[in-house]
């Protein structure tokens, strides 16, 4: 893509970013002037200045320690590995379940309600139990976190795999049958390619979900090295240094966005046409 096109694509979001920053600061300024208490009190603690947050990245994260940006980058990388493992696991499992349920409507009617219901269970509540169970079996901490991330990842993939496999044109299926193609061939040569757009739509959602799952999984595992640990840590010190928690949020968001963009890029290569965007 040419530099001009690339920069015009970036210009829009950058402009919005600047506008948002301006809105933030104006609200803060106005809020302090008018001593706003609703919806929430406006002061340096609830709304740190944008430049203070950015500056905080280059402060030491603790006394005599590395810079915040280094700490957060390490934490992000740590969490990223767990999230990636969870994403791959969840996507594989989700896809497999989708394929199985597609081929058996009885199994589908039997299990789908529970698969849907499974997502109503607050993952945060289950997480400690998963961690202890797997830990008891000698699994390393990151694996438990990956499993929790997979729990959040598999569902959209299952639903969309089901829908995608079913979206193949019936006439195309008839054509395959006229070639005496068996079930496997029809699946891999026709249905799976037909389901790719749906699959990638789900993977885009799963990408961010896996990051969320990884962070949530770290909390009960008392894993210090990831973003989950950073959040708990900076939450404790919020009163003295609110900017650090905001900075952590920004890094967490960036991690999520990176995963999302990675899926978009993969989609462009695999499907060989631009992903369908909304709006």
């Amino acid at each position: 893509m040419s530099l001009r096109v690339a920069s015009s694509r970036v210009a829009g979001p950058v402009a919005v970013l600047l506008v948002l920053g301006a809105l933030w600061e104006s609200y803060r300024w106005l809020g302090e002037r008018l001593e706003l208490r609703w919806p929430f009190p406006v002061n340096g603690r609830t709304m740190p200045h944008t430049w203070d947050i950015l500056a905080q990245f280059f402060e030491p994260s603790r006394r005599n320690g590395p810079l915040l940006i280094e700490t957060l980058a390490d934490a992000a990388l740590f969490t990223a590995r767990e999230a990636l493992a969870g994403f791959l696991l969840g996507a594989a499992v989700g896809f497999a379940i989708g394929v199985v349920l597609h081929h058996s409507s009885v199994l589908q009617r039997g299990f789908l309600p529970y698969i849907v219901a499974s997502q109503t269970i607050p993952i945060l509540a289950i997480a400690p139990m998963v961690v202890v169970w797997l830990g008891g079996r000698g699994a390393p901490g990151w694996l438990s976190v990956a499993v929790i991330a997979a729990y959040l990842t598999f569902f959209p993939v299952t639903i969309n795999t089901l829908r995608g496999l079913g979206s193949a044109d019936p006439r195309a299926i008839e054509l395959m049958r006229s070639y005496a193609a068996g079930g496997w061939a029809i699946l891999w040569k026709l249905k799976v390619p037909a389901s790719l757009p749906y699959l990638f739509a789900a993977l885009r959602v799963s990408a961010t979900a896996s990051v969320v799952g990884a962070i949530i999984g770290e909390l009960p595992s008392s894993i210090q090295d990831g973003l989950g640990g950073a959040i708990i840590n900076f939450n404790q010190y919020y009163v003295t240094s609110p900017e650090s928690l905001w900075a952590t949020n920004i890094v967490a968001a960036l991690l999520g966005i990176c995963f999302f963009l990675a899926v978009l890029a993969t989609e462009r290569i695999v499907v060989r046409r631009a992903p369908v965007h909304t709006a």
Binding site: G12, F40, T46, A117, L124, A125, M129, V211, N249
Partner: protein, 275 residues
């Protein structure tokens, strides 16, 4: 000279046939439920599984009954947060979607941020809402639920508002209809199926958001607190009982939305047999 009516989709008449069809649809799910519970109970007893992973269903049911007042007040507390967050999130996102559909240019610039906002692990934001609204205040958890709800509803509503057939727009133009009329009479009704499918997802997310929001600090009445507290004290039947309550409430909210969909959108061909 005119043909006899040829209905494209025959609608089954007669209650008996309808009820019979329904039962047939639900039987496998019921069967799985019964089998799973039986298996669970059997395995726990047979292998004397550590009750802390998976107490027997019978133990959980006992606890549900024993502690029902505690669980009920917790359920109500957290459910209120979920409903509040659901309402706020849906209203804001639908308004935003209407604005983005009207002024398309905005959409391209704003979408990356909507995606970014969705990528923020909401749990990271919970301490901040606690700081804003006070951890013992329901509003801080409502905010979490609202944020979780916002993005899926926005994306789907927008998709629905903008996926109108070109010939439909031309038809409206031929009536010299203005943008507002087109919005009211064409875009919004055709967006309803999309909106409802998003609301269904949102209903589940709202409850989860409320519980997750309660993780850090919350009132002792809250369901999330009860879960964590019970787990920490080693009372796993209670923890699981509370989890069941949270899950059931999420499903109840989902069912309410599905019912509303059935009532408002009886006209939609897909309103029969869908998740």
């Amino acid at each position: 000279m005119s043909t006899a009516p040829v209905a494209v989709q025959p609608i089954p008449r007669g209650m008996a046939r309808q009820v019979g069809r329904r039962l047939g649809d639900w039987f496998p799910a019921l069967a799985v439920f019964v089998l799973a519970i039986a298996l669970w109970e059997g395995l726990v007893r047979a292998f004397d599984v550590q009750q802390f992973l998976l107490p027997a269903p019978s133990a959980i049911v006992d606890t549900l009954v024993e502690e029902r007042s505690l669980l009920w007040s917790g359920g109500v507390y957290t459910f209120t947060e979920a409903i509040g967050g659901f309402a706020i999130g849906c209203v804001l996102s639908i308004l935003t979607a209407l604005a983005l559909a009207r002024w398309r240019g905005l959409g391209g610039a704003v979408m990356p941020f909507a995606i970014a906002a969705n990528a923020v692990p909401i749990i990271a934001f919970a301490p901040i809402t606690d700081q804003w609204f006070g951890p013992l205040n329901k509003t801080s958890k409502m905010a979490i639920a609202a944020i979780l709800v916002f993005f899926p509803v926005l994306v789907n509503t927008l998709r629905g508002l903008t996926s109108v057939r070109p010939s439909s727009i031309e038809l409206m133009r031929s009536y010299a209809a203005g943008e507002l009329t087109v919005l009211r009479r064409v875009r919004i009704p055709s967006a309803l199926p999309y909106i409802f499918s998003a609301l269904k997802v949102a209903s589940v997310l709202a409850m989860i958001g409320a519980v997750v929001g309660e993780y850090f600090v919350s009132s002792q009445e809250a369901l999330g607190f009860q879960i964590r507290n019970a787990a920490q004290l080693g009372e796993f039947e209670l923890a699981w009982a509370a989890i069941v309550v949270a899950s059931v409430l999420g499903i109840a909210l989902y069912a309410a939305v599905a019912l509303l969909e059935r009532l408002t959108m009886g006209w939609h061909p897909s309103a029969r047999g869908d998740i």
